[in-house]
Amino acid sequence: MKSLRLRGRTATPPPAAAPGEVLAEAEGLHVRLGSREVLRGVDVVARAGEVLALVGPNGAGKSTLLSALAADLPATAGTVRVHGRPADGWSAPDLALRRAVLPQSASLAFPFTVEEVVRMGRAPWAHRPGAGDEDDRAVAEAMAATEVTAFGARPFSALSGGERARVALARVLAQRAPLLLLDEPTAALDLRHQELVLRVCRERARAGDAVVVVLHDLGLAAAYAHRVAVLHAGRIAAEGPPEGVFTDGLLSEVYRQPVEVFPHPRTGEVLITPRRD
């Protein structure tokens, strides 16, 4: 019995992170997928209390970088650390208490209801004293934050693409991990819900989490990210606060498309549009 319990050691949740503490980092990271070297020496840091946006053209390595930070892909060279420890040094249950991942597309093999899907996010916390009430609260909050409460009893398979995406995000939020890795959470969403999702990201950062989010919409990145990292051909082309990083020259070069960056006439916020003249 004793040996059984030792083997089935329950994972321990991490202590609360101090603001600015590094929750995930890549150092000189190289990742090879098949014969293609997708990441070629990437350094990036995700800190507690910050939203970090990963932007860049298709195929630049954004999703691969996110997967490497999530400990899904092994590094060919360099290191990935999650909560200070090499990513492959954690067990799956321990990692599940430390980072939550939103995949690019959500699929489900069997017709679970929306609420059941969101509740799956609580799996890492199973078998803890007082887990039941905490689970209910986390699920309800996550569903409210993503505006999916209204169709909680419907089967996931009966939802539209945008609704599915929000349910998947609710599941990730219900996991209550201090490191959130979101791959294009806004891709299938309408204007209102894009804003909603990024406000949720900001809120989680304010609550002390580290949020890493892959975005295609540079305007959203400029408006909501504390820092952006522009990926280009497997390297970080620029990194820092959006006002400093998003410049005509850099974006035009990286996207191979003339781009204009200018302040909003009323708010002064950074606006980015392709030049069409």
């Binding site: 999530a70 067990s91 995949p103 597309s105 017709p111 899907v117 009893a153 398979s157 539209s160």
Partner: protein, 375 residues
């Protein structure tokens, strides 16, 4: 039911999803109603068992009134009642009861293996018979009959069926997966290939067997519980018991696996280990069933599927429920085979295939409609 093998969603980003099942799910829109369904179903299935067992024990070429059956059982348990005359007692305890117990064990194993397999492959069309694992296990069993192997005594057939079944599960698994998912087409085609190969091997063994063995194999291939004995029950019991006891422990993790492999890992599931354990359990259960009863298809497909439609896809009910449901279905089917065409006896595997194949056909059509095509 929802088979999302392709990462790309057939539904457009924002149009309301065209879903054939919306109506089917509407009746359990209330979460409370859905939670009560498993309890009701369990109660219903247990009641069905309690009725079926004494009825099945009484019916047959030598009818025994149900009252006498109960009386004999309570007598043996030392709870009063009275022993029957010698013939009746012998028919009941040496012929009927071993057969009933075997039907229950085999049915539970097949139902449970089907539910597990659908969970592991994240695919509602997976079933030991359809994808060729049953015939794989059959190759092992036939080999031991044909070559007269008895090096492990009573256990020889079971052990060889298990090893061959295990090899087949692993083969099918490896061949039909790509990118962390199994596509329906690949799975079914792999099943066809595996079934063809297993059929050829079985044919080869029949070719080399003597007449007595050929008869035994042919009879056994059709699937039957006609020659049930207590030693056979004992030969199956360990495999089935281990498999049935271990399977429910993985229910929660199977729920998570329906999100896909990576999301399951993100939620703390050691996916590789889970798969390894469950493939072993599936092989154990299938081998247990096949080694005594031959190939009995579709129980593992139909039972979990109906339960999923009634009570939702949660594996905490689905796994034990499928075992229970499989036991009920197979006991009823076996009762039908030996009473419908009295005094002749229909092969059990033939009966389940007659009923199960149209169901499979309907399921294929429905899955295809939902996906909007295979390719």
């Amino acid at each position: 039911m929802t088979v999302l093998d392709k990462p790309a969603d057939p539904v457009g980003p924002d149009g309301p999803a065209e879903d054939a099942h919306t109506a089917e799910h509407a009746e359990r829109a209330k979460p409370g109603a859905r939670r009560a369904t498993p309890l009701l179903l369990t109660a219903g299935l247990v009641a069905a068992l309690l009725v079926l067992v004494p009825v099945a024990a009484g019916l047959g070429a030598y009818p025994i009134p149900t009252g006498d059956v109960l009386s004999s059982v309570t007598h043996r348990l030392g709870l009063g009642g009275a022993a029957l005359d010698r013939v009746a007692e012998s028919v009941l305890w040496n012929v009927r009861f071993p057969r009933i117990v075997l039907a229950l064990l085999v049915g539970a194993s097949l139902g449970c293996a089907g539910a597990l397999m659908q969970g592991v492959f994240a695919n509602p069309l997976a079933e030991p018979g359809v994808i060729g694992v049953s015939s794989g296990a059959a190759v092992g069993a036939v080999a031991s009959i044909s070559l007269g192997l008895t090096f492990l005594g009573n256990w020889t057939v079971s052990v060889l069926a298990f090893l061959a079944g295990l090899a087949t599960v692993l083969l099918v698994y490896a061949m039909s997966r790509s990118g962390g998912r199994t596509e329906v087409v690949t799975l079914i085609l792999t099943g066809i290939a595996v079934n063809a190969f297993a059929g050829a091997l079985i044919g080869l063994f029949i070719f080399f067997a003597d007449t007595a063995a050929v008869n035994q194999i042919t009879f056994w291939q059709l699937g039957s519980l006609a020659q049930s004995t207590w030693p056979k029950v004992l030969a199956v019991l360990p495999c089935a018991a281990v498999g049935l006891a271990v399977a429910p422990l993985y229910a929660r993790k199977l729920d998570l696996l329906s999100l896909g492999e990576r999301p399951a890992r993100h939620l703390g599931v050691d996916v590789e280990r889970l798969r390894l354990v469950l493939v072993l359990v599936i092989a154990l259960l299938t081998a247990a069933a096949v080694s005594v009863s031959g190939i009995i298809g579709f129980v593992g497909l139909v039972v979990p599927h109906l339960l999923r439609m009634a009570a939702g896809p949660g594996h905490r009910f689905l796994i034990p429920g499928s075992a229970l449901g499989g036991a009920v279905v197979l006991l009823a089917a076996d009762l039908a085979t030996r009473t419908l065409a009295e005094p002749a006896e229909l092969p059990l595997g033939v009966l389940t295939a007659l009923i199960g194949s149209p169901f499979f056909f309907w399921l294929l059509r429905r899955t295809r409609r939902k996906q909007g095509g295979w390719a």
